[in-house]
């Protein structure tokens, strides 16, 4: 998973291609310029570039004024706003957008590879450019929504702290530096065997309990992972060694029954996600 900063910039790049808002328009931030300089997706390189400035800062200064008026043929290559060509298919769709046909399927627009010389759409009067512009505007709206939705999703997913009722928060608690600290699991505050008043050696046959103190590779966990006090840490380590020595626990992984249970659960979860 890419770090937060890069993922956000990716989403912003996608938005900056399609938005006509003033904030994006007059922004001189790096993300905006990065979005402007992506030319691989804007495949319309028909116009010569010598007559236009190639620097994204100057070229994209006033995209709002030029976006509606410029038709497809006169679109500048370095303008990222209408850069999504018809050929690229946007995989992310809103539920409502399913009704809209994907690009390339519109009956009014003739397929470029069609062998038909005579097109009914041309008879109707709407030019190809007008149709394409309409579809672009439609797509631009939906893509803007999609871009915004994706950004909102990503930002929401990164609120890693679980705020509980009665917690006190200050502005620095909402900062990403503080949030990243809540991703790391700390060691338990109290000794589990003391709290439950159990002896590890009396539960040597409880392979769930024993496996909880082993890593997936079959190694005994350190006390900074278990949070046990030294006496109990020694007891559980002794129990694990004896159980392995008895032959009722494997030494290189956790108990196979637990492995089977975990696999069954993962499969059920995948089936549930697929079925949704």
């Amino acid at each position: 998973m890419a770090p937060l900063g890069i993922r956000c910039a990716n989403s912003l790049r996608q938005i900056s291609k399609n938005t006509t808002g003033f904030r994006a328009a007059f922004s001189t931030s790096r993300t905006r310029q990065a979005g402007g300089s992506i030319e691989d997706l804007s495949k319309d390189n028909s116009l010569p570039k010598s007559t236009q400035s190639t620097s994204p800062a100057t070229a994209n200064r006033f995209p709002a004024t030029t976006a509606p008026a410029v038709s497809q043929e006169n679109r500048r290559s370095d303008q990222p706003l209408q850069s999504t060509p018809e050929a690229s298919f946007n995989p992310i769709e809103l539920p409502g957008a399913r009704r809209r046909s994907p690009p390339g399927d519109s009956p009014a627009k003739p397929r470029p590879n069609s062998s038909r010389a005579f097109n009914l759409a041309n008879l109707v009067g709407k030019t190809q450019s007008q149709q394409a512009r309409k579809q672009h505007m439609e797509k631009a709206v939906s893509q803007e929504d999609v871009g915004k939705a994706k950004l909102a999703q990503d930002l929401t997913k990164n609120i890693t702290r679980r705020f509980r009722e009665g917690d006190v928060y200050a502005p620095h608690d909402l900062h990403w530096v503080e949030m990243t600290k809540f991703k790391r699991m700390g060691k338990p505050a109290h000794d589990a065997f003391d709290e439950l008043d159990l002896k590890p050696l009396d539960n040597y046959r409880n392979f769930s309990m024993i496996s909880e103190y082993m890593t997936p590779m079959g190694r005994i966990k350190h006390s900074k992972d278990t949070g046990l006090r030294p006496v109990n840490q020694r007891r559980i380590a002794r129990t694990i060694r004896r159980t392995i020595g008895l032959g009722i626990m494997p030494s290189v992984h956790i108990h196979p029954e637990l492995l089977a249970k975990m696999m069954r659960r993962a499969q059920a979860r995948m089936a549930r996600d697929r079925g949704q």
Partner: protein, 498 residues
């Protein structure tokens, strides 16, 4: 201050200084124990402050003078709009004073005082969604009946129903290991004291029986002395004591209980478990407990007799379900007895409800915590239960834009997503956290608060004048079905009461 010894002037100066008046820090608040580990941060704001917040006037601040052992650096203390610090170490081995900003808790307290919510006893939710309600729940913590730690010596009304401080632990909140440790270290060592306590209880019981029998004997036989003149009027009254007769408990000494008598009494106690448990609770000063399951869920179950055995005495204490508070139930946050105060608006007059507050949506619904939480004055409050706009199944990613404001973070909103709420009540939980109950604010009240009454939608044809802002009510009383009645406009002077 010792009167005989003379105190050196330097010592006297130090004793009266601010440095010496800083109290020792409180223990850090405990987090929920998770055997596999917690997600936590050492720099996150704690649920309650543990160190004193110190501030200093601006003239001293520019010189770095905070009344401490040394002056503090100016770069970090003068460029802040919240010049409040907490000192974790007055002097360290490296000869520095360790300090940090205390603005988080100080400003939170300031915001809380602006909210003006009074503290009440906690409201507990039982299994099945019902609320545990009795005459002590939801009352102000400063009620004379509730605000007490007094233990009457004589056997009077049950004081543990109302007290908030107990010497013994709350057994329901203890884990197995903690309970066994308590038994080993405290209870088993007090066997002899408990035996003497039982002997005392037995003696008190005997004296009470003696008093009753004497009273009955006096009522049966004709009374002597002065009272006999008015015997006809007094004879039927069993409660009034004839003069000279020793019925006061102080006058009868406690009878001596022999070991055999004590043994018989203890045997009787073993059968009468309710009485035995009561004796144990009194001796160990345990806080009352009540199981959520043991409470009858509704009056129907109660009538049908579907309740637990009488041994399970249901305590009416407001702290029975969640445990007694660690401090006074108000935790020093607010000293007002009620939130019922009338706020006056300069245009619309007295308002029925307090001013609505814009709460921050700290975690939207689709965040990893899967719960909509609001930030009100620095405290996290759970969003009021409202009907879900979409019945989206768990894990659905993209939702309609209409519900986006509460389901996802809104990246375009400057200042973050907010929600208008009204505070209802507040209480302190047994963990030390503040439980603030809020509800969604009425749009009319919001309009009054933001001075946007003109933008409110006009009332429909068939209603009588809606009360915009005045007494905050939005009750619309239909006038008649006659469409000829002109609709009242918001600019109507009648509605504003001017």
């Amino acid at each position: 201050m010792a009167s005989r010894r003379s105190i050196a002037p330097g010592a006297a100066l130090l004793r009266s200084s601010r440095v010496f008046s800083v109290p020792p820090p409180l223990p850090k608040p405990e987090e929920n124990w998770n055997p596999t580990g917690n997600f936590s941060s050492d720099t996150a704001t704690a649920i309650h402050p543990t160190h004193l917040s110190i501030t200093t006037p601006q003239t001293s601040r520019v010189r770095g003078d905070w009344g401490l052992k040394r002056s503090l650096p100016l770069r970090s203390t003068t460029k802040s709009s919240t010049p409040v610090i907490r000192v974790s170490a007055m002097d360290t081995y490296e000869h520095i004073t360790e300090y940090a900003s205390a603005a988080d808790h100080s400003l939170t307290l300031q915001k809380w005082q602006e909210l003006g919510v009074a503290l009440s006893t906690p409201i507990q939710k039982m299994a099945g969604g019902n609320y545990f309600k009795n005459h002590l729940v939801g009352k102000s913590v400063f009620e004379d009946q509730l605000d007490t730690i007094f233990r009457p010596q004589t056997d009077g009304p049950r004081d543990e129903e109302v007290r908030w401080r107990f010497k013994g632990p709350w057994l329901a909140g203890q884990s197995e290991g903690q309970f066994n440790e308590y038994m080993r270290s405290t209870v088993l060592r007090q066997k002899n004291q408990f035996r003497e306590f039982i002997r005392n209880q037995c003696a008190t019981e005997e004296r009470r029986k003696l008093m009753l029998s004497r009273r009955e004997a006096e009522n049966a036989s004709p009374p002597k002395g002065k009272v006999s003149q008015g015997a006809t009027s007094h004879a039927h009254e069993s409660t009034t004591a004839p003069e000279g007769a020793p019925v006061e408990s102080k006058q009868i000494p406690l009878p001596k209980i022999s070991d055999d008598q004590l043994y018989q009494y203890m045997k009787g106690l073993r059968q009468d478990r309710a009485e035995l448990y009561k004796q144990i609770r009194t001796f160990l000063d345990l806080s009352p407990t009540s199981s959520k399951k043991s409470m009858p869920r509704n009056i129907g179950a109660f009538i049908a007799g579907d309740v637990d055995e009488p041994e399970m005495e249901h305590s009416s204490s407001p702290y029975a379900f969640s445990g007694p508070p660690k401090t006074h139930p108000s935790a020093g946050l607010s000293y007002s007895r009620t939130s019922s105060k009338l706020e006056n608006h300069p245009i619309y007059g007295p308002q029925q409800v307090s001013k609505p507050i814009e709460a921050r949506i700290v975690t939207p619904r689709n965040a990893p915590s899967h719960q909509l939480s609001l930030g009100v004055g620095g405290f996290i409050a759970m969003a009021p239960d409202e009907q879900q706009m979409t019945n989206a199944p768990f894990g659905r990613n993209i939702q309609s834009t209409a519900g986006l404001q509460h389901n996802f973070v809104d990246p375009d909103k400057i200042g973050g997503s907010k929600m208008w709420i009204q505070t209802k009540s507040a209480s302190i939980m047994s963990t030390g956290k503040v439980s603030l109950q809020v509800e969604k604010a009425d749009p009319v009240n919001v309009a009054v608060a933001t001075n946007k009454v003109d933008e409110l939608p006009v009332a429909p044809m068939k209603t009588l004048r809606p009360t915009y802002g005045r007494f905050g009510s939005t009750r619309r009383i239909p006038l008649s079905n006659d469409p000829g009645v002109a609709p009242p406009t918001p600019t109507n002077a009648q509605t504003y009461g001017l």
